[in-house]
């Protein structure tokens, strides 16, 4: 997990724990999951870019 995503998860967990509303807690939890998904997508794209740029076909 990237530093930003870890930081986001920590911040959002704090907000979630401090909030009494079930709806707000759900929104913070969903934001944690979204941040992780963004992280995964970014990593997948980065890996694909690396793979395509360093393809042996181009050597």
């Amino acid at each position: 997990m990237s530093d930003t995503t870890e930081w986001l998860a920590k911040q959002l967990t704090e907000l979630k724990n401090e909030d009494q509303s079930f709806i707000n807690k759900s929104i913070y939890q969903a934001a944690i999951e979204l941040a992780k998904e963004q992280d995964k997508r970014a990593q997948q794209s980065q890996d694909e870019l690396d793979g395509r740029i360093w393809s042996p076909d181009k050597w």
Binding site: L15, E18, S26, I27, A35
Partner: protein
């Protein structure tokens, strides 16, 4: 975007699932609801002109009901037969370009609804008449939203379902990452209400970070697309 939920349920107030959904959608300003059974309760008849006019104000119309014998309870069919006249739907194309969503609650597991499963038929197959109606009306039919076995959900599952439900009601379709991100940022903004300055600042920082991450995702996606296009 404005959404109307048309609820068909003979015992709406007694249903734990429906009350959970009601508490959830109350948090959204642009979502209104109507319990069809209450419309018919007094005289057994409804003001068709009034109902037809009211629907025009909404962009997304959602039928919400428990599945009764593989369809909706009778009140929704009655409402459709009364309000969706041929003139209103076909001649005047009154609902054209609006979206039609279905929120269906099930007592059985959704996984049972498939070929070879205990229920044998899929939810998509069983709800086909609503899809046919949307097609005839020129509406965009949304992928049905299924709430199955609400009573067995743990709090984490309920939280997830709540967010998925609210997005189904009010996020831009399709529910891809970009649209879900945009929706969540809006909801995070709304959670600032009543919070201390310090907490509001914390939420602002979170929002900025999420937006930065999304821009990064989009930009990398563009780069990948560019390289793929060059290769092929």
């Amino acid at each position: 975007m404005k959404t109307l939920i048309l609820i068909s349920h003979p015992k709406f107030e007694d249903s734990g699932t429906q009350q959970f959904l009601k508490t959830s959608f109350y948090s959204l300003d642009d979502v209104k609801y109507q319990v069809i059974d209450e419309l018919y309760a007094d005289t057994g008849k409804i003001d068709i002109d009034k109902e037809q006019a009211a629907l025009k104000a909404f962009d997304r119309i959602v039928f919400q009901f428990p599945m009764y014998w593989y369809s909706s309870p009778a009140s929704l069919k009655q409402f459709m037969d009364d309000v969706f006249t041929r003139n209103y739907i076909v001649a005047n194309r009154s609902l054209k370009t609006k979206e039609l969503g279905i929120v269906v609650t099930l007592g059985d597991a959704e996984a049972d609804f498939q070929a070879g499963g205990p229920e044998a038929f899929t939810i998509s197959e069983l709800l086909r008449p609503f899809q046919a109606f949307a097609h005839k009306a020129g509406m965009q039919y949304l992928k049905p939203f299924v709430v199955d076995q609400f009573g067995y959900m743990d709090p984490t599952q309920k939280q997830r379902m709540l967010i998925d439900y609210l997005q189904y009601l009010s996020a831009e379709m399709p529910l891809n990452l970009a649209n879900r991100e945009q929706w969540l940022v809006g909801r995070l903004q709304a959670t600032k209400e009543g919070k201390s300055d310090e907490q509001q600042q914390a939420i602002d920082l979170v929002i900025n970070s999420i937006e930065d991450q999304q821009n990064n995702v989009e930009s990398l996606k563009e780069d990948v697309k560019m390289i793929r296009d060059q290769e092929e």
